[in-house]
């Protein structure tokens, strides 16, 4: 994995007053302002429809709302999108969407090939990415023969092969059994990149992130250390979340 080129103190992601409304009139983001420093792991939590996925899609220019967004030192505008998408990897919620080619090798090689790398470099990237997600030897497997856990890890490999500085993950632990979830958690913990993890899985967030941002109805309602926020039962209850079992006093479980 390439070392981050941004100094540890410089904001890696900056959002200022981001607003976005879908075509059907739903106001998905209502003036989001947020800063994420290089190397940080941030959990983006909130109830369904709070705007987590919408926010992630703005960071790679898939959606364009009003307000300012700077990612890896570049304003998110059309001319910068190829460079931003080279430096930011987004792992979508449904691995079947992410794995669209027949052979796993080709799927993982898709990004590096689009970056114009030579075949030997592409091969090296694919080998390294599959090794990182513990799928060595799966190069010739087809996506519909993989388990959900393997698909999730394969989807992560498709992004890691592009050697991103920033990793955005949308519900990475959804539909995973405990072992697959643990495996994925271990893999993500080893990645030395800036991470934003949108999730409902509070234990997963707690294990991987120091900081949490709580979104509700398209607004940032809390931003602070994971443990402090997740242990606040009133705050969690108010925003459709719950205190993770590991932070629960025996009486509340």
């Amino acid at each position: 994995m390439r070392e981050s080129v941004v100094e540890q103190t410089a904001p890696h992601i900056g959002l200022h007053q981001l607003r976005f409304q879908y075509g059907d009139g739903t106001l998905a983001l209502q003036g989001i302002s947020l800063t994420v420093n290089a190397g940080e792991s941030v959990a983006l939590v909130g109830p369904n429809g709070s705007g987590k996925s919408t926010l992630l899609m703005h960071l790679v220019g898939l959606l364009q709302g009003q307000g300012e967004i700077v990612v890896a030192g570049l304003p998110v505008v059309k001319t910068h999108l190829p460079e931003i998408r080279r430096r930011v990897g987004l792992v979508f919620q449904h691995p079947d969407d992410q794995l669209f080619l027949l052979r796993l090798y080709d799927d993982v090689a898709f990004g590096p090939r689009n970056q114009g790398l030579a075949p030997d470099d592409v091969h090296a990237r694919v080998t390294e990415a599959l090794a990182r997600v513990r799928l060595d030897g799966y190069v010739d497997r087809v996506a519909h023969h993989l388990s959900t856990g393997e698909k999730k890890r394969a989807a992560l490999a498709t992004v890691l092969a592009m050697q991103p500085e920033i990793l955005l993950l949308d519900e990475p632990s959804s539909n995973l059994d405990p072992r697959s979830r643990r495996d994925l958690q271990r893999i993500l913990a080893e990645l030395p990149v800036t991470k934003i993890i949108a999730t409902h899985d509070m234990e997963f967030a707690l294990a991987l992130c120091n900081r949490a941002v709580i979104l509700d109805a398209g607004q940032v309602v809390a931003d602070g250390p994971c443990r402090a926020l997740f242990a606040d039962a009133d705050l969690m209850e108010r925003h459709g979340l719950e205190v993770p079992a590991s932070l629960c006093a025996p009486a509340c479980c």
């Binding site: 899609m57 790679v60 898939l62 190829p82 998408r85 080279r86 930011v88 990897g89 987004l90 979508f92 449904h94 079947d96 969407d97 992410q98 669209f100 080619l101 027949l102 052979r103 080709d106 898709f110 990004g111 090939r113 689009n114 970056q115 075949p119 087809v142 996506a143 519909h144 498709t158 992004v159 592009m162």
Partner: protein, 238 residues
């Protein structure tokens, strides 16, 4: 859904041959069979012999090949039904039906041999390397990839319908529900297509697929191609 996956894992001579060679030989054999007339049973025999050699090289079970090749039977019904009304002077209409049936069946066997010994992804790669436009091969691979996902969705939707409606209903309400399922599937497919496009775009897709790496054929590939072409040339000239 295993019926969609015709490839059978194996380590035969035919399994290891380049997909381009197998594709060329199979298509040439189908073309050759289609040109064989009723008056030339020896040509048919040469094609059948070549096919026999391919089946042996692929170590394919006769039962499997026969079972899969019977898919042509419904398509033979139309010529069979129309034959009694045709006026032919040279041969009996029933002989013509028999020859058409044999030719169609042999063509189906050739394709079964190809599909059983070649992975679909290799077939698509082979077609691209033979010069088939990347757009077509990419669409083909997407269709095959998502056929499994869509069939899964259809199965889930149908299960949900059955659980709430009990047994199968009357024809008209059944058709109405089926129509709703198809419409719902269409909307879901459209949504999925958008999501897949997003996944491609964020990984640098700018409208064209990266070129496919060249690959050399082995001596055994060339030998198989030469053998097949000589046999088919013989069938045409005899």
């Amino acid at each position: 859904m295993s019926c969609l996956e015709s490839y059978r894992e194996g380590h035969s001579f035919l399994h290891h041959r380049d997909a381009r060679v197998k594709l060329l030989v199979s298509l040439a054999l189908v073309a050759c069979l289609s040109t064989v007339g009723v008056q030339h049973p020896s040509r048919l025999a040469i094609c059948a012999a070549l096919l026999g050699v391919l089946l042996l090289l692929g170590r394919l079970s006769p039962g499997l090949v026969v079972r899969r090749s019977l898919i042509v039977l419904p398509f033979l019904l139309l010529p069979a039904l129309s034959m009694p009304f045709l006026q032919t002077t040279a041969v009996s209409p029933w002989v013509m039906v028999a020859v058409i049936a044999v030719k169609s069946w042999l063509a189906a066997v050739a394709l079964v041999a190809l599909m059983t010994t070649t992975r679909f992804e290799d077939l698509v790669d082979g077609a691209a390397r033979l010069g088939v436009p990347r757009l077509l091969t990419t669409l083909g691979s997407f269709m095959y990839r998502y056929l499994f996902v869509l069939l899964d969705e259809v199965r889930h939707m149908n299960d949900a319908r059955l659980l709430r409606s009990g047994v199968r209903g009357a024809l008209v309400p059944g058709a109405r529900i089926a129509g709703s399922l198809v419409a719902s599937l269409f909307v879901r497919t459209y949504d999925r297509a958008e999501r897949i496009h997003n996944c491609m775009v964020v990984r640098g897709f700018a409208g064209t697929m990266a070129p496919i790496a060249p690959q050399r054929c082995s001596a055994a590939d060339w030998a198989l191609l030469a053998l097949a072409l000589v046999a088919m040339l013989g069938a045409v000239l005899v």
